[in-house]
């Protein structure tokens, strides 16, 4: 069945596979996996540990520690040791729930908070980039080669600013992002390909700081997300908090120091983890002043403390099912993802809700990275006999603020992406030449209660009587779930076209500057890296163009063919040299020359896709 999907001709190509990785950038830990020799490998560090704690410490001398080493300092140096940075991605100070601000000192930069560390201010994007750099290095050492790109996973319920921040972090780490992939979808890929599953599946993903649920239909190599829901402020960390709160009440400790707070919190976490395997455990903590805390906790107590949290996860599950238009009976299987799903109370609640035991054959900590690696391999262009397609959705509605502060939905949640919608606006005053548009994301009726993504001014509207101009604003959400907005005045013929990136995104210039700053001997490294990047890109383009010509040369007339082959020749020549800018110009020129060719190939491919179907039907 799956063979039908693969394009003819591609399988005959022989070339070395492009190396791509899947990265699960998690709240509590992160990991990287890749496909080698047709198998997925989760990559370990030198000590054989696959999980990298998502902890980054800024030292006095400016050096940065990441992972296990940084985590050791969590209690001693809490202000400079950032844990659970994922909770702060794309978030302003006002967005942070109570309790998530301790122990850090924050600076409220526009759009996103920043941490005040002894090494200066750092943004969550920079902190995340440090984690990604370590994983990138781990992958490069294992593969002994440069990476063609990476798939980075994000919670399905991440909004636009959180996604944009994640993508910026990857760019900052020097990773070419092939795709941002929703974590539950990644898990579904790992399970679906493994078991050859068909039918409707639910993915219940309780991570360290986020909860997601996705309902997917698996059908002949197509993974179609029907609906997704979640809570971006609910995760395993909250279970630790519940035990911590109880611990304070039991021991009579009030207002612990930041260090003691973390000691008690990590003891609470250890107790939580133990209680998944035993009925009771003793919490023992030595506080900064030398005093000791000792406390027995039973699984029964733990489950009473966390009953509300477990219950809170079921509401998004119900909503996702409702949005998918399905009932529990329609669900073939439930996949558990995230370390927190090891808790027996979660497994029980899920089994009771869906009336069937959940699937746990993959390690819940690794399944997302495994799915991401499989997808990365596919996206890098390493086609094999097995090919599949992911159709994902946007988790939260996109809209604009209208008069009276209401949010008018333009793209409803659970729309299949990529998706675009256009909306026409007009002026309300004679001669008005500008108007402002406020883009929001969320389900609330008031724009002020939704997440503000971007405010922008449309200028240069030709002066006309009120109501005459027609400004067509197009909202485009791409396959990463990222929004871009463009606008055009349609009556006057004036093309006042703008591109708007949501306010939390870093501009290309800012990213370039941050990358520059992060290189010690900037210039030489940067030049070498640019040259390498352009060479890889140039060779990739030549290869792709060659195979396109081999397949579809008939679509071109002589003149067009000549232009493309001339472009290829020029590119080949500059590839020999070491002038990266010349290579880039040649790449742009060849791209421009083959644009029409690409469009025609697409047309032809679409026609043959459907006529292929007819042949198929006839054969039967």
């Amino acid at each position: 069945m799956l063979l039908q999907i693969a394009e003819p001709g591609n399988k005959t190509q022989s070339r070395s596979p492009r190396l791509a990785v899947g990265i699960d950038l998690g709240t509590t830990h992160s990991l990287v996996a890749t496909v080698r020799g047709g198998r997925v490998v989760v990559l370990d560090d030198v000590e054989g540990r696959p999980l990298l704690p998502s902890v980054v410490r800024y030292q006095a001398d400016g050096r940065v520690e990441v992972g296990h080493a940084a985590r050791l300092w969590q209690n001693e140096d809490p202000e400079n040791t950032i844990v659970s940075v994922k909770r702060y991605m794309g978030r302003a100070l006002g967005d942070l729930p109570e309790g998530s601000r301790i122990p850090y000192r924050f600076a409220d930069a526009p759009g996103m908070v920043q941490f005040e560390t002894r090494a200066g201010r750092v943004s969550p994007v920079q902190v995340s980039a440090e984690i990604l750099k370590v994983l990138k290095k781990r992958a490069a050492e294992f593969l002994q080669a440069d990476l063609a790109g990476a798939v980075i996973t994000v919670p399905a319920y991440f909004d636009d600013s959180q996604r944009q921040a994640t993508k910026d972090a990857a760019k900052l780490a020097g990773l070419d992002v092939l795709r941002l992939l929703n974590e539950p979808t990644a898990a579904a890929v790992a399970y679906g390909l493994d078991r050859g599953a068909e039918g409707v599946y639910a993915v219940y993903d309780l991570g360290g700081g986020t909860f997601d649920v996705s309902i997917l239909k698996l059908n002949r190599g197509v993974f179609e997300v029907l609906a997704t829901h979640g809570d971006s402020h609910l995760g395993g960390d909250d279970f630790d908090q519940a035990v911590y709160g109880w611990l304070l009440a039991q021991t009579g400790i009030t207002l612990p120091s930041p260090g003691d707070r973390l000691r008690l919190l990590s003891a609470a976490r250890t107790a939580k983890e133990r209680l998944s395997f035993t009925e009771e455990t003793t919490i023992e903590v030595e506080l900064a002043g030398g005093s000791r805390v000792q406390c027995l906790v039973t699984r029964e107590t733990f489950e009473t403390l966390t009953r509300d949290l477990v219950w809170r996860t079921l509401s998004p599950v119900r909503k996702a099912l409702r949005d998918a238009g399905l009932s529990i009976r329609d669900v073939q299987g439930v996949v558990l993802v995230g370390g927190a799903t090891r808790m027996p109370c979660i497994r029980r609640a899920v089994a009771e809700f869906f009336q069937k035991p959940p699937l746990t054959d993959h390690d819940p900590d690794q399944v997302v990275a495994i799915g991401a690696a499989l997808q990365a391999n596919l996206l890098a262009g390493n086609r094999s006999d097995e090919d599949w397609l992911l159709l994902d959705v946007i988790p939260l509605s996109l809209g604009i603020e209208t008069l009276g502060g209401l949010a008018e939905k333009i793209i409803p949640r659970n729309s299949t992406i990529p998706v675009a919608r256009a909306q026409e606006f007009t002026t309300w005053k004679d001669g008005q030449t500008a108007m402002s548009i406020h883009v929001v994301q969320g389900e609330r009726e008031l724009a002020g209660e939704c997440r503000s993504l971007a405010r922008f001014e449309l200028r240069g509207i030709p002066p006309m009587v009120a109501g005459a101009p027609r400004i067509r604003v197009t909202f485009q959400v791409d396959a990463d779930g990222l929004l871009s907005v463009s606008a055009r005045e349609t009556i006057s013929g004036i093309e006042a076209r703008i591109e708007v990136k949501p306010s939390y995104g870093l501009s290309e210039g800012e990213i370039a500057r941050m990358i520059r700053d992060s290189y010690e001997n900037a210039q030489a490294d940067l030049e070498a890296r640019r040259l390498n990047e352009q060479r890889v890109e140039g060779m990739r383009l030549l290869e792709a163009t060659e195979s396109a010509l081999a397949e579809d040369q008939r679509l071109l007339d002589k003149e067009e063919l000549r232009a493309i082959t001339a472009g290829m020749e020029s590119l080949r020549q500059v590839l020999e040299g070491s002038d990266w800018e010349a290579i880039r110009r040649a790449i742009d020129a060849l791209n421009a020359a083959s644009l029409e060719f690409a469009a025609r190939r697409m047309d032809s491919s679409i026609r043959s896709a459907l006529s292929g179907q007819k042949v198929e039907t006839l054969r039967i």
Binding site: G149, V222, L379, L389, S415, A609
Partner: protein, 177 residues
């Protein structure tokens, strides 16, 4: 370069341009097109090609969504016939239909006030039946009798029912949460 936005949705999926629809064929053709044009198929290609795939995949999704939903399909067919359904400003409805609407709205209100699942279920059933009847009428008007203006009237009525159905779903959702 010709952007795909001008494409006729029916032609795109190689389906006859009419209201009656082979839903299975639409599903199959949709998935086959997406396996060709989805941006995931272009992740290793040039930026220009990525944009091309993005345009096509976006169009394919929009076309599928439009043809899949009967009311949107009817609106689209009418648009192709040059008929504007004018749902924002044309509220002329048969008096009978309007009276029924008022009655049903009152029933919904009653169901909500009394929290009566029974009343809500009964109302939902009636709306489903009425929707089905109107969709059949719509099919006849569009495909057989070819009376687009009369069809536009039915589209406006169906839009009322769809709104009512949404409000019923919302009431149901509020109870369940």
């Amino acid at each position: 370069m010709a952007l795909p936005t001008t494409r006729n949705y029916f032609e795109l999926f190689q389906l006859p341009q009419c209201f009656a629809l082979d839903s299975g064929k639409l599903d199959r053709h949709y998935l086959e097109l997406q396996t060709r044009v989805h941006p995931d198929k272009a992740a290793h290609l040039s930026d220009a090609e990525k944009r091309l795939y993005l345009h096509w995949a976006t169009l394919t999704n929009e076309a599928y969504r439009t043809l899949k939903r009967p009311l949107d399909r009817a609106r689209y067919l009418l648009q192709l016939h040059g008929v504007d359904t004018r749902e924002e400003d044309n509220t002329a409805m048969p008096a009978e239909f309007l009276l029924e609407q008022i009655e049903w709205r009152e029933e919904l209100q009653q169901a909500i006030t009394l929290r009566s699942q029974q009343i809500l279920d009964r109302l939902a059933l009636r709306i489903r039946k009425e929707t089905k009847r109107l969709l059949e009428t719509l099919g006849t008007l569009l495909d057989v009798e070819r009376r687009p203006l009369a069809a536009a009237d039915v589209v406006r009525q169906l839009a009322f029912l769809e709104k009512l159905q949404r409000d019923i779903d919302q009431a149901q959702a509020a109870w369940e949460d």
